[in-house]
Symmetry: C2
Subunit: 205 residues, 2 copies
């Protein structure tokens, strides 16, 4: 009876991600995970020694996944492209946006847990944040040297861009009612526009 080719372990992981992201790790009972995964409670503990192990397994797998997606992919896009910087930036933000949105449940779980668990925060910093920042800063530094970008602190620029995108995603995820995803492209273009040209009106010709 190999119904769906989705392993028991995966069923448990998927159910856990969904429940952890909805209700948080502590408020999720192992009995609920079992019910949602369609397995008996005892089965969970044949695959994971403790409930916390489920969380750590999710976090570890996800961080591996993201360190690829955030680092390998953008490297190619950014460093081997002949497009104007403005477009590279828009492309980059757009597919980061999509990646984060698509995996929002799992990111929410990691983010929530990182707030109170130093170990998870460290993993996140070591495997994702530092390298992402480095690439972003390098991209900006190159732009400065090519005379495309103004000489501003790369860290600040990258951090602000990231904050802008994250707030957009947060708004869409937590309050999806108003406009939905229809003008995401426009939103991202506007953000690029703000960062490239600023908000100050330039009356002088």
């Amino acid at each position: 009876m190999k119904k769906d080719d989705i392993s028991t372990e995966e069923k448990i992981i998927n159910a856990s991600i969904e429940l952890f992201s909805e209700k948080g790790f502590d408020s999720t009972k192992t009995s609920e995970i079992a019910k949602n995964a369609g397995v008996a409670e005892g089965t969970i503990f044949r695959y994971f020694k403790t409930k916390k192990d489920i969380l750590m397994s999710i976090v570890t797998k996800a961080i591996q996944f993201f360190s690829e997606k955030f680092i390998v992919l953008p490297l190619n896009k950014v460093l081997h492209s002949e497009k104007p910087e403005e477009e590279i930036l828009a492309d980059l933000l757009k597919d980061r946006y999509e990646m984060i949105s698509k995996n929002f449940s799992i990111i929410k779980v990691i983010g929530t847990e990182a707030l109170t668990k130093e170990k998870i925060r460290e993993k996140l910093v070591e495997h994702v944040a530092i390298k992402t920042l480095e690439i972003g800063e390098e991209f900006y530094q190159n732009g400065i040297e090519k005379g495309i970008f103004r000489d501003l602190p790369p860290r600040t620029v990258v951090r602000s861009l990231f904050g802008s995108i994250m707030m957009l995603i947060a708004e869409q995820q937590f309050f999806p009612d108003d406009k939905k995803s229809k003008d995401v492209d426009k939103e991202i273009s506007t953000i690029v526009e703000i960062f490239m040209n600023g908000i100050k009106s330039r009356k002088e010709q």
Copy 2:
């Protein structure tokens, strides 16, 4: 023996904020709150019916506090100032930065809980987010009409600014090691600079 004029209720609240922000609501035991507050465990339940009531009391008080600080104060600063917009913006970001940093524990608690508890999220949106956004958007809209700002969607501008500041604060709070708060002023000036003038180099004269 009125040692310090700090009431038992306040001692409990303060201990709770500290512990909730460090370890999260669920992982904090009432026995720990009691020890940290310097009272017996039973005393807690003379002031709060349940542990959850402590949390809700913190959240409610904090939201009241912030809806004042975020709305009344900026209204005066922003709408009755003769300074150039650039300076208003810098002032505004600076004291928002300070306010958030100073109250980071409590904001972290509310933020963490808001991620998984709809009721708290709703309160936050209703009493703080909506009005803050409105004021921000109005400020920007006025600027457009006065010809100071470019005609961009106010919501996007305000959201991005907020995201930039929040990421700065997050970095400082979670990784305070490197440079500490010494160049916060410079960071904020840079953010204002980015938003006002963009990052694109302008070679033409």
